[in-house]
């Protein structure tokens, strides 16, 4: 990667040849990357790819087998207490004391982090940005999953650390909450360096500047988000739901110029069938499909572009690298 802006030259996170193995199993296998100030980086990978392990090493929870991890230029193993002051961390499972109220909990976090800010105001601010003001005096164990997750995020923000690390921040939230959390992360990105992990492609696309894809403990891509998005959008597959005789419709679709293949999914409801149509690169088949079908009077009751799954993206991206 080439650094473009001046900000990027300030390295907030630096990981060099990081390895973590459990016996013969490598959870993280020789990973290196750098994150500049003010970047939002997404860690993308399937479950068990090594995302959490990397984050746990970076935050000082686990030790690496070899290699180094630096935060703000401070090595996490050599000078853990100084490095940890720079990090706000939301682990995969929010570390909540369920017998405390939200306020008690945030105050406790404030104390163990040894913060020296205006406590009342700082905590009130955090409650406000994470939208937990209305539950501040409730016991954490009585909160819903979404609120618990937000308290977890609030905890990471205490002390205003320059580096924020979120491990799967939107897991288990409903769609509305997911959007709120993503907006929050985008806002944080303006003044913080953020790393977040996820196994959902659209999530990193919507909030991150840069995407690091990890699989089986290795980095397989480290790209600007635009580049990854371009790769993903090359995909031209649609799921069509059409009423009418399936054999005939399949033939009709097949004859449209630009169509590579037509498959039946076997999904049907009343008189309609669902087809998967793949088009050639650079050809928009949506209009021709509509006209052909309307001419024959076969109503199309649904059309949606198919996203790529993570494995397909991996393959595409690895091809792109060659």
């Amino acid at each position: 990667m080439t650094e473009t802006s001046e900000e990027m030259s300030i390295r907030m996170i630096e990981i060099n040849n990081l390895v973590k193995n459990y016996g013969t199993k490598f959870a993280v296998d020789d990973i290196s990357f750098k994150v500049g100030k003010g970047e939002i980086v997404g860690f993308l990978g399937p479950n068990g790819a090594g995302k959490s392990t990397t984050m746990n090493i970076l935050t000082g929870y686990l030790s690496s087998t070899s290699g180094e991890a630096k935060v703000g230029g401070i090595d996490i193993l050599e000078n853990p207490n100084e490095a940890k002051k720079l990090i706000g961390f939301l682990p995969e499972q929010p570390p909540l004391y369920i017998d405390m109220t939200v306020n008690e909990y945030l105050n406790f976090v404030y104390e163990i982090k040894g913060c020296k800010l205006n406590r009342e105001r700082h905590i009130a601010e955090i409650r406000q940005v994470t939208k937990i003001e209305d539950v501040k005096n409730r016991l954490i164990k009585n909160l819903s999953k979404g609120y618990k997750q937000r308290v977890g995020i609030a905890q990471a923000l205490v002390g205003n650390p320059p580096v924020i690390i979120f491990d799967e921040p939107t897991v288990g939230l409903d769609p509305k909450q997911i959007i709120e959390i993503r907006n929050l992360i985008r806002n944080l990105g303006q003044s913080h360096t953020v790393i977040l992990s996820t196994h959902i492609l659209s999530e990193v696309q919507s909030v991150c500047d840069r995407i690091i894809i990890i699989n089986e403990g290795k980095i397989i891509a480290d790209e600007r988000t635009e580049n990854i998005t371009r790769v993903v959008e090359e995909n031209r597959r649609y799921s069509l739901k059409i009423c009418g005789p399936q054999r005939e419709i399949q033939n009709l679709l097949q004859e449209i110029p630009g169509v590579i293949s037509v498959e039946l999914t076997g999904e049907r409801e009343l008189d309609s069938y669902t087809y998967i149509v793949e088009a050639e690169k650079g050809v928009d088949i949506r209009k021709p499909v509509f006209y052909v079908l309307s001419e024959k009077n076969y109503p199309m009751i649904g059309m949606e572009p198919l996203g790529m799954n993570l494995e397909e993206v991996f393959i595409k991206i690895m091809d792109m690298g060659r």
Binding site: G60, Q93, Y97, I112, G114
Partner: protein, 234 residues
């Protein structure tokens, strides 16, 4: 460190645990005190303390079983271990909180001595010596409990494991008169928390025993720190 201490202390009182500990402690000690002094017609409290050592085997694990096992089970240890505090201060804070609970309850139970003054002439110096020995033994037991708690995620395993080790400590020398070999007897006597206490019952403030209790405490707290450090590499 103070923040964790405060959190632990609050934890004892916002959950039933602290109240259960105090209630069980006072009930058991009250009963034993009555048996050992009032019913036996003596104002010598050293027998009561001797009995209480066995009481502690059951009571102390109540205080320590949760300390780390619970943090590990609920993953809150991740918060503590990624916060800018050292593992040593984290363990010391939990140890001190448990000891505060223990010492506080022991002091409350001192009320028991008052009636003795009405019936006889208790030896105050000896009682104070025994009391100090009790606090030292409590320290020892708590450090064992903390250590076992760092080993497991389950509070039940932690409490039963602690009881087993404490029982071993306490009864190590009990079968000594059945053993012929002097060497083995010597070692068992050396290990036994109970045998070390004997001098205190005779009104002697035993420096060697004090050092022994403090060393056992230090060893187990050190082992707890090591367990935590090692876990990061596992």
């Amino acid at each position: 460190m103070f923040a964790i201490y405060k959190k632990e202390m609050r934890g004892y009182f916002t959950t039933p645990l602290g109240y259960v500990f105090i209630a069980v402690f006072l009930a058991v000690s009250g009963f034993m005190f009555a048996v050992a002094t009032l019913q036996s017609g003596t104002s010598d409290v050293s027998g009561y303390f001797q009995l209480m050592i066995f009481g502690y085997i059951v009571i102390v694990p109540l205080l320590t079983m949760r300390s780390f096992a619970e943090e590990r089970r609920t993953r809150t240890e991740q918060l503590l271990m990624t916060a800018p505090i050292s593992i040593t201060s984290m363990i010391m804070a939990k140890f001190l909180a448990a000891f505060t609970m223990f010492a506080g309850t022991v002091l409350v139970s001192c009320i028991y001595y008052l009636p003795l003054f009405g019936y006889g002439e208790p030896n105050v110096g000896k009682a104070v010596g025994c009391l100090i020995a009790m606090l030292l033994i409590g320290m020892c037991f708590i450090s064992v409990g903390i250590f076992v708690s760092t080993l497991t995620e389950s509070t039940v395993t932690a409490s039963i494991g602690t009881m087993a080790i404490l029982l071993g400590f306490a009864v190590a020398a009990i079968f000594n008169n059945l053993i012929d070999t002097y060497f083995i007897r010597y070692i068992l006597n050396w290990i036994s928390v109970y045998s070390r206490y004997v001098n205190f019952t005779n009104g002697i403030f035993d420096i060697a025993a004090t050092v022994y209790y403090l060393s056992i405490t230090a060893v187990f707290l050190f082992l707890s720190v090591r367990i935590y450090e090692r876990r990061r590499y596992a």
